[in-house]
Subunit: 503 residues, 2 copies
C-alpha cells in the first residue's frame, strides 16, 4: 500500500464512523424513545471521539506528508483529494482537545438554557451562558484562523462552506439590500390589489399527506431503495449517500407546509445520492458545503416546485390525494398560495424575498457579537432595530426575535450566510439549466424532473467536493454569483407572474 | 484511576460500541431500505473490529493483571466483575485474527448458499460450504477449548450460556426423552376426544394487531419511554437496556401468532430493562446467557400468557380490539387455541411438549457433525430418522427438515440447547414465584403482572451476569434444574386443564 492508499483506507474508516453517527442521529430525531436520550448522547460522543482520534493520530500526519511528497503533479484529481484530507486534518488538529471538550459542554449548557429562555420568553435566562459560550467560540475562531491563515470569522464560515469569505458575503448582501426591501413593498402592494388566494379546507390526515409526499418524491426521482421518509420535530436530510433519510413534520390544517418541506429535503437527498460513487467515503466524495447543499434543496423546492408549471401539474394530484373540490384546488390558486409574501418575523417561515433580509441581519449581528462590538446584553435591542430597518416590523417579544433560532445557542456562528448564498446559487443554476434545456419548464409542467435532475447531476452533484462552490457555479453557469439573476427570478415570479393577466 | 477503574472505562467504551452495533442491527431489520445493505455490512464490521481491537489491545491484558493483583478478597462483587472481564478477554484473544476473518467469510458464504438451498429445496447446494464452515468451527472450538480448558463442544456452549456443559444437557435431555414422546401421544389422544377449538374469523388488520400488542405490552409493564415495537421478518429483541427494541411480524389471518410473539419478546425486554443499573455497560451488568434470556421470554409467554387465567383476561379485550363476536372469543376457546398440540415438523412453530424433542435432535446431530462422526452428506437422513423416532413424523423434504433453521449455516453450534434449558427454567421460576406469591395466578387473571415481574426483577433480572444460570436458579427456587417441575407444568396444562370438566 502506498501512503495515499493508507490515507484512503483511514479516511474510509473515519467516514464509516461518521455514517454510524449519522444513522444514530436520524434515529434520535425520528425513532428513539425519550428515555434513551442520555445513553444516546454517550453513544454519539464516543463514536465522534473515535473518529476524531483516528484523524489526529500521529500516523495521519506522517501519511499525509509522505503522500504529498510523492504526489505527481500530473494528477490534479489526486492532488485535490490530498488537499481535502489535509484540510480535514488541519481543522481537526487546530483545536486543543481541552477546548473541544469545553466547547461541547458549553454548547450543551447554552442550548439547554435557550430552551428554557424560549419557553419562558426571557432572554435573561440564556444571556450569561451565551456570553460564556461566545468566549469559547472566539477562542475556537482564533485557533482555527491562526492554523488556516484566515480571519477568525472567516475561519468559522470556511467550516460551513469552504472558500466562502465574509468579504464575499458583504459585497453580495449590500447589493441585495439595495433592492429587496423595496421589492417586498411592491409585491405586498400588488397582493393587496388582488383578492386573497382561496384557502384549502382541511383537515388533511397525516397518512394522506405522507402518502402524497411519497408519490411526489418517487415522481421526482427519490430512490426508496436507498432512502426513507419519516417524521421528526425538525425536518432534515441525514443518513448516507446509500441510505438517505429525510424527515418532515405534519400540520393537519395545512398540507402544503409538509409537502414543501419534503420537496426541500428531497433536493438535499438527490444531491447526496448523486455524489461521485468512485469517491464514496472519501473527503473528495462528500457534498461540497452548506451553501451548495442549500442550493440543491432550493433549486428543487423554490425554483422547480413553487413554479407555476409544477404547481399546475401537482394541483389535480393534490385534489385527488385529499379528496378536494372547487376552485381552491386549481393550479393557479395553489401557485398563489405557495408564493404568498408577508413581513413575518420568523426566518423559517419567511418567503423568498424576505428570507435574505433575515439572514443579513444575523450575519451582521453575529460578526458584531464575535468581535465584541455588540455586548450580549444588547442583542435583543439590536435585533429589534435591525428588523425594523430591514423588514419594517418589530418583534413583540424575544421569542419572535433573537430567541427564535437555535444556531448561536448551539455555538453555530458563520452558518446563516450559507442559506442566502444557496438561494442565489439555486436561482442561477436553474436559469443555466433552463438555458441548456429550453423545455425544462414544460417538462416540470408534465411532472418530469429528469432534464433538471440530470443537469444537476452533471453540473453539481457529480463533482463532490472536488470543486469549490465558486468553481461549481462558474463552470455550470459561465459566471460567478450574480445578484442580477436572483433579482430577475424574484421580479419575474412575484411581480410579472402575479400581475392580472390581460387577454 | 486504579487499574480496575481503567478497565471499567475501557469496557464501558466497548459496550457503547456494541450498543451502536445493536441499534444498527435493529435498523437493518426494521427500517433500512434494501439498497443500503452493503454499506451497512461495512458499518457493522468496522464497529465490531473497533470493539474487538479495544478488547485485545495489550493495555487490556496489563490492566487485567494489575487489577487482579490488587483485587481485595473481601469484595466478591468486584472479584466477579473482574472474572467476567477476564472471561471476555480470554475468549477474544483465544482466536487468531486470521481464523476470525476466515470464519466470518465462511459464515457469509454458507448462509448465502443456505438461502438458495432452502429456496430450491436442495441440500446439495449448501453441503460443500457447510463442510468447509464446519472445519473452521472445529478449529474455533479447539482454540477456545484449549484457552478455556474445556472440551471443544463445551467451549462453544459456554459462549452462549456461560457454565453450561454438554454433560448437563445430556443428563437432562435423557430424562425429558423418557416422558415427552408418551406425553405427546396422550395429549393428542385427549385432543382427539374433544371437539376442535373454534377458529377466529379474520382478517385482522395489521394496525389493530399492533395497537392491541402495544396495549398488552403497556399493561405488562413494557416502558415505551425506553423502548419500541416495530416490524421485521424475524422477530427479535435488540437495542440496549435503556432503549429496548422489540419486533414482530403480522399474519392478517391469525392475530395470535403476532401477539404471542410480542409477549415472548416482551419477556426478553423486561429482562434487559431490569438489569442492574449500577453495572450498566459493564460485563457484570449484562444479561447472563441465552438460556436465562430464553427463560425470561418463556416465563412471560408460555407460563404467564398462555395460562388459563391470562387468556381469560385477554379474551374480552381481544374481542373489543378486533370487533369479534361469539363463542370463539371466549377465554376458554382462546386458551385451547394457544395450547393446541401437534406433531409439526418445524421447530419455531412447535408446541411446548414437542419443542424439546426438536432441540434434543439438533443437540445430538450438531455434536456428531462437530466430532466428525456424522458426515455432512448424511445429515438429511439422520435428521429424518431422528424426527421419526422422536416425534413419529418424517419431513417430506429437506426444507421441512435439516434446512429449516439458519443456526448451523451461520456457524452457530451449541446454541440450540439453551432454548430447552430456558423453557425448563421458566417453568421452575414460575412455580417458585407462585409459591412465594400465592395470588400470582389470580393477579394474572386480572391482567396484573406486578407480582410476577417484581419477583423476576428481584430473583433474576437484578443479578445481571453476577451469578451463573445454575446459581440464579438455585437461589430463586431452592434447587437445581428439576425435570419433574417442567413435567408437572406440562401435565397440568395439557392433561388436567384439558380434561372435560365435570360439575
Amino acid at each position: 500500500m502506498t501512503p495515499f492508499d493508507r490515507l484512503c483506507s483511514r479516511f474510509r474508516r473515519i467516514a464509516i464512523l461518521e455514517e454510524a453517527v449519522g444513522m444514530l442521529y436520524w434515529d434520535t430525531a425520528a425513532m428513539m424513545p425519550p428515555g434513551a436520550a442520555d445513553g444516546r448522547s454517550e453513544q454519539l460522543a464516543t463514536l465522534r471521539e473515535l473518529a476524531h482520534a483516528m484523524l489526529v493520530a500521529p500516523e495521519t500526519a506522517d501519511e499525509l506528508a509522505a503522500a504529498e511528497a510523492l504526489a505527481p503533479d500530473e494528477d490534479p484529481r489526486r492532488a485535490m483529494q490530498l488537499a481535502l484530507m489535509r484540510r480535514r486534518w488541519r481543522r481537526a488538529v487546530a483545536l486543543p482537545s481541552a477546548l473541544v471538550a469545553e466547547l461541547s459542554r458549553a454548547r450543551s449548557r447554552c442550548e439547554t438554557a435557550w430552551r428554557s429562555a424560549r419557553t419562558e420568553n426571557d432572554y435573561a435566562i440564556v444571556a450569561p451562558t451565551l456570553a460564556a459560550l461566545l468566549d469559547l467560540v472566539r477562542e475556537e475562531a482564533a485557533a482555527l484562523g491562526s492554523a488556516l491563515a484566515l480571519a477568525p470569522y472567516d475561519a468559522l464560515l470556511d467550516g460551513y462552506e469552504p472558500g466562502l469569505r465574509a468579504a464575499d458575503c458583504n459585497r453580495i448582501f449590500e447589493r441585495l439590500e439595495e433592492f429587496l426591501p423595496a421589492l417586498l413593498d411592491r409585491v405586498m402592494a400588488l397582493q393587496d390589489e388582488q383578492p386573497a388566494p382561496l384557502s384549502l379546507a382541511g383537515p388533511f390526515p397525516v397518512e394522506r399527506q405522507a402518502a402524497f409526499a411519497r408519490e411526489l418524491m418517487a415522481n421526482i426521482g427519490f430512490d426508496f431503495d436507498h432512502g426513507r421518509l419519516d417524521t421528526s420535530a425538525h425536518p432534515f436530510c441525514g443518513g448516507s449517500p446509500d441510505d438517505v433519510r429525510i424527515t418532515t413534520r405534519y400540520d393537519e390544517g395545512d398540507f402544503l407546509k409538509a409537502i414543501m418541506g419534503v420537496l426541500h429535503e428531497t433536493g438535499h437527498a438527490l444531491y447526496e445520492r448523486g455524489l461521485p460513487a468512485d469517491l464514496r467515503r472519501q473527503p473528495a466524495g462528500e457534498a461540497r458545503g452548506m451553501a451548495v447543499h442549500e442550493s440543491q434543496s432550493l433549486v428543487l423546492e423554490m425554483q422547480a416546485c413553487r413554479s407555476r408549471e409544477f404547481t399546475g401539474w401537482m394541483a389535480p394530484r393534490a385534489e385527488a390525494a385529499f379528496g378536494g373540490t372547487g376552485d381552491a384546488w386549481s393550479g393557479g390558486n395553489l401557485h398563489r398560495l405557495v408564493t404568498r409574501v408577508d413581513r413575518g418575523l420568523i426566518r423559517v417561515d419567511a418567503n423568498e424575498i424576505a428570507y435574505p433580509l433575515h439572514v443579513i441581519l444575523r450575519f451582521r449581528l453575529e460578526q458584531a457579537l464575535l468581535a465584541g462590538d455588540l455586548p450580549v446584553a444588547d442583542l435583543p435591542g439590536a435585533w429589534s432595530d435591525g428588523m425594523a430597518s430591514m423588514l419594517g416590523v418589530r418583534p413583540a417579544d424575544d421569542r419572535a426575535g433573537c430567541l427564535q433560532d437555535i444556531h448561536w445557542y448551539d455555538g453555530g456562528f458563520g452558518y446563516f450566510p450559507t442559506y442566502t448564498l444557496g438561494a442565489m446559487m439555486a436561482a442561477q443554476l436553474f436559469a443555466a439549466a433552463e438555458a441548456a434545456e429550453p423545455d425544462l419548464r414544460r417538462h416540470l409542467g408534465a411532472g418530469d424532473f429528469r432534464p433538471l435532475v440530470g443537469w444537476l447531476r452533471r453540473h453539481v452533484h457529480g463533482h463532490g467536493a472536488l470543486l469549490s462552490w465558486d468553481e461549481i457555479l462558474r463552470r455550470a453557469t459561465g459566471k460567478p454569483l450574480d445578484v442580477a439573476v436572483f433579482r430577475r427570478h424574484l421580479e419575474r415570479r412575484y411581480l410579472d407572474e402575479h400581475r392580472p393577466r390581460t387577454a
